[in-house]
């Protein structure tokens, strides 16, 4: 009975996460239509990851973006911020209407997230390779002050090229920063094409393990699998090292012609194409 109830609860949670991921994609399309340029595909690949963290995993309080005990989230691949902003608005961190002026002159909301102007952004990003270091600092700072929040850092797979990622990986493992979870959105593409053809990063899990991290692999579009894994990591009090989740994803997931077509790293859809894209996303229920 208890198990059945719990399964039911989980099924409802998974449905909720999937619905919020769809919402994040639709909002991404809307925001990019305002800016007339944007990173559809980079946001689409991590929509389920973001929705799972924000609606199933992270310790947050509605309307209290600065709550000291909240779990932290850092967006290494900050160019996908348009997919995160709607979730932060949904948490009541700022009025959703503020997004209507996305990227307009002087607006807080740009292509990359600015912590000084956007409630709910725990760290500014945009320059690849920095976020894991900043996350190590947050986790260390929390530990030094007896706080037990978890720090989540979402990295791109292209971002693995940056040397500073590996400085941070070494350091976090050395200091056993256990309340730190890195996620790699392995969508197999960076700006110039397939990662394998740009500068290969495989075998990625082996690399992280060699650096002293506990490494897991998951289907980055399977909300149920993501939820189970993140919850297991949060519940594991035995682990003494940081953990990394390599999430296998499809760049552009959700729009048929965008999937794994690297040109959609950056782009814009004219009005009729945008309407068709919205219809496709809404049809994907």
């Amino acid at each position: 009975m208890t198990t059945a109830m719990s399964d039911e609860t989980t099924a409802a949670e998974i449905a909720r996460i999937e619905e919020r991921a769809r919402f994040a994609r639709l909002e991404t399309v809307r925001l990019i239509s305002i800016a007339k340029t944007g990173h559809y595909a980079s946001g689409f690949s991590c929509a389920e990851i973001l929705a799972t963290l924000y609606y199933g995993v992270m310790r947050l309080r509605r309307g209290e973006p600065d709550w000291p005990e909240r779990d932290r989230f850092l967006f290494g691949k900050g160019h996908a911020a348009a997919t995160l902003y709607p979730l932060l608005a949904d948490w009541g961190f700022f009025p959703a209407a503020e997004l209507d002026e996305y990227t307009r002159l002087g607006n807080a909301f740009g292509d990359h997230p600015d912590m000084t102007r956007i409630p709910g952004i725990d760290f500014s990003s945009g320059s690849l390779g920095h976020a894991l270091s900043a996350g190590v600092g947050m986790a260390l700072g929390g530990r030094m002050q007896g706080q037990d929040f978890t720090t989540y850092v979402l990295l791109g797979d292209g971002e693995q090229h940056e040397g500073q990622v590996w400085e941070a990986a070494l350091h976090a493992a050395h200091h056993r920063v256990r309340d730190l979870v890195a996620i790699v959105d392995r969508n197999d593409h960076s700006l110039d094409g397939q990662i394998d053809g740009v500068t290969g990063i495989e075998p990625l899990l082996d690399k992280w393990r060699a650096f002293g991290w506990e490494a897991h692999e998951v289907d980055g579009h399977d909300a149920g699998a993501l939820l189970a894994l993140f919850r297991a990591l949060a519940a594991d009090r035995e682990r003494t090292c940081p953990a990394v989740v390599v999430a296998n994803t499809i760049k552009g997931k959700g729009i048929s012609y965008m999937e794994s077509e690297f040109g959609w790293h950056l782009g814009w859809l004219a009005p009729q194409d945008e309407a068709n894209a919205i219809a496709e996303l809404e049809g994907g229920r």
């Binding site: 600015d114 000084t116 500014s124 270091s133 600092g137």
Partner: protein, 333 residues
């Protein structure tokens, strides 16, 4: 005490290096005192705790010390992360590796975010002598000064470093502190600096013929040079411009109004540092007082023992005095 059985007392190694750099004790000891006083100070370095003396901090407050290893960029970004949790991180490494190697992390993670990160660039300028250009920093003031929201301070001596650290502790913005190798002679006694204020230059005498604007390691030789020039009957003053940004514009303009000539002296390229900052202020206010910028003249320094380099580049007391004499005599001709 010898460093190994049977060795002469003059022999030394890394672990006794600090005894030869008393000026650096102030860094670790002041930060340690700040922790004792209840400030949430954290100190870190990139594998240089014996070179910058932070070993002394680690010994007093091991829980507040972070060893980053040789990862300067990671160190700066991590310091920013630490600052988001309410801590006040002070991270230190050679100025060359801090201001140049980790420049973008300083700009993006500490300054853009306006987090209270304190960056200590030590062994700045050409203090690392024959280590060569990789270890020199004659560009850091120019680079750091152009980063929005970053305060830039170059203390003249250990006492002023202590005062600057104490003054920094409650400030909300990121700060770059540029210091030498800890062997700089004292300009000040602790008591002299009770009114030390970030952004407020300290005048040492008024010069009708010349005011020397000096910063950091150049304040001491500039004062000696001024004394020699005064002994020759010339009217020369010195302005200790310890804060490069925000520059004490009123003090620079007052010196320009009082003196026939100005000369900036810095252990830095003549482009973009103190001299550049002063020139910007003078031109903006239409001050007609000529400014001679003295320093490293847009070249990579030769290698050599630091004192020899100071002599070569006329950055010791005799050299600064000679430069000033030529300036004044040239003006008289």
């Amino acid at each position: 005490m010898s460093v190994a059985p049977g060795l002469q007392p003059e022999s030394w190694h890394l672990l006794t290096l600090l005894e030869r750099a008393p000026g650096l004790h102030v860094l670790a000891d002041t930060l340690s005192d700040l922790v004792d006083d209840g400030h949430p100070v954290v100190a870190g370095t990139a594998d240089l705790k014996y070179s910058n003396g932070l070993i002394r901090f680690q010994e007093r407050h091991p829980d507040r010390f972070v060893q980053f290893g040789i990862s300067e960029q990671h160190m700066v970004s991590t310091a920013a992360g630490l600052a988001t949790t309410g801590l006040q991180p002070y991270v230190a490494t050679f100025a060359s590796f801090l201001a140049l190697l980790a420049c973008e992390q300083i700009r993006t993670d500490a300054a853009y975010t306006q987090l209270p990160v304190r960056l200590i660039g030590h062994h700045a300028g050409i203090t690392l002598g024959f280590y060569g250009t990789s270890h020199h920093a004659t560009e850091d003031l120019a680079i750091m000064r152009s980063i929005a929201g970053l305060t830039v301070i170059a203390p003249a001596d250990p006492a002023q470093l202590g005062a600057a650290l104490r003054a920094s502790v409650d400030r909300p913005e990121p700060i770059y502190l540029r210091i030498g190798r800890g062997q700089e002679p004292a300009v000040y006694e602790d008591g002299d600096l009770s009114e030390f204020e970030i952004g407020k230059a300290i005048a040492h005498g008024a010069g009708e013929e010349l005011t020397i604007l000096a910063t950091g390691s150049m304040v001491h030789p500039a004062l000696q040079a001024a004394e020699a020039l005064r002994a020759e009957g010339r009217s020369v003053g010195v302005l200790d411009v310890h804060t490069i940004k925000p520059l004490d514009e009123q003090a620079v303009l007052a010196a320009a109004a009082r003196s026939e000539r100005l000369m900036s002296v810095e252990e830095h390229n003549v482009l973009g540092g103190l001299g550049g900052a002063a020139a910007e202020v003078l031109s903006a206010h239409g001050a007609g007082t000529p400014l001679h910028r003295h320093g490293i003249r847009d070249e990579f320094s030769l290698i050599g023992p630091p004192t020899h380099l100071y002599r070569h580049y006329r950055l010791d007391a005799a050299g600064i005095a000679a430069e000033a004499r030529e300036l004044l005599d040239g003006a008289a001709r």
